[in-house]
Amino acid sequence: MRSLIVPCLLLFVTGASAQNNYGTITGSVSDTARSPVAGVSIQAKNVETGAVHKAASVQSGSYTLSQLPPGKYELTATSFGFKRYERKDVVMVQAGQTLRADIPIGDFVSLETLGEDRANFGRLIFGRPKPPEGPAPRTPDGKPDFSGVWNGPLPGGGVEAGPELLPWAQTLEKERTDHNLKDNPQGHCLPFTVTPFNFLLNRVIQSRDFLVTIIEYDIPGYRQVYLDGRGHPKDFDPSWTGHSVGTWEGDTLVIDTVGFNDKTWLGEAVPHTDKLRVTTRLRRPDLGHLEIETTFDDPGAFNKPWKTKGVATLAPATEEILEFICNENNQDVEHLIGK
């Protein structure tokens, strides 16, 4: 079976109706272990018109780009956790034809290391206990109370896979991935992200005047948000975590964070500037769920704001946040190699 697939990365599959004015590219995405990979964003760009067509691979790893006007296409595939795939030769699409283009996509991160392999990440996500049911609690002054230990947000649907980057940022992101993410700050035990939650456990501590998250798997393991009505300081020194203030819009807490430095890599390799503004909207529709909508706006690096949505679930009260002193034994740095 493999011998059929691997050498024939692109082949003519079938002729469709002569009436059809469009062509199709279809195929399967697999990793270095030849396992199917879902959720990969596949893009076909028409070389002549610049038109971009997008699809995502499904559970079986397969994808289909249909309704493609005839022409020459550049095929790329991206997903966090994997190397960017760029097909070397241009794909010729003709009306009424279906082409097959299988995509071998290389693992990037530690998807093999015991404890950090994909199956275990999947288990950590799927093995989460069902959150309790009931109404969302309120603070004595009637505001929604977000306190609790939360299993970090898992992305919801209907959001963009990543920001549309300005050319310089595109170039820098490619450079970073081409060099195996060697200089990613988190590899050096510097902060992982600019948001107040990570995907493992997060404890929210809330009072009338502030909200703090204790983040299990980030550096530093906390973020603080002022709720006392103050604004952002004018003389704030750019920092990794920025300056956060929160205001209430009904039952939604809107956290506005500015004052970032430009050092964090978003997601895996996405650059940003010190113009970055992160708006986090928190809503607790019931006892067990925390909806988190985040908008990343950076006119210095993005064409338009990038919005993500996620839902955190309340963890059992017995859950304890573990320690992550990253620099305790970080032997990796001296062995990281770029291209």
Binding site: F80, S110, L114, L181, F199, C326, D332, I337
Partner: protein, 134 residues
């Protein structure tokens, strides 16, 4: 089947998340996925530390020369959530290890499978049963 589903969701989650849902460093920057090696030896040291737990193995070659190899595991945070503890590996134990070699030639590898002399797998993270085997 369960693993397929896990792969699907993790893939999707990775795609859409602004936070890295992965190891603290890039696998490909440090290890060579084309150099998967088998080792047999005796555990000499266990480091239950962040960002990675590690263990060290004395491996004897065909001529009897002994080399001490350094194996990387996941973070204790992630290992503990899966039921593993710092004594899951014991000094003096004979194990065989499957791992990817470091690219820079250091005596280091990334452990993807650890098997005891009786055939049981430790840290069986890739198994589908959902439980550590020890």
């Amino acid at each position: 089947m369960r693993i397929d589903m896990a792969l699907m969701i993790v893939g999707l989650a990775l795609l859409l998340s602004p936070e890295p849902m992965t190891s603290h460093h890039s696998f490909t920057a440090e290890y060579d996925s084309a150099k998967l090696m088998q080792f047999m030896g005796t555990i000499t040291k266990v480091e239950w530390t962040n960002p990675h737990a590690r263990f060290y193995l004395d491996v004897k070659d065909a001529r009897g020369a002994v080399t001490n190899w350094n194996f990387e595991l996941g973070s204790p945070i992630l290992l503990r959530k899966l039921g593993w503890k710092q004594d899951s590996l014991k000094i003096g134990e004979q194990v065989s290890v499957e791992g990817y070699l470091a690219k820079d030639g250091a005596k280091m590898a990334n452990a993807r499978k650890v098997t005891l002399a009786d055939g049981r797998n430790i840290f069986a993270g890739s198994s589908a049963d959902g439980n550590p085997t020890r």
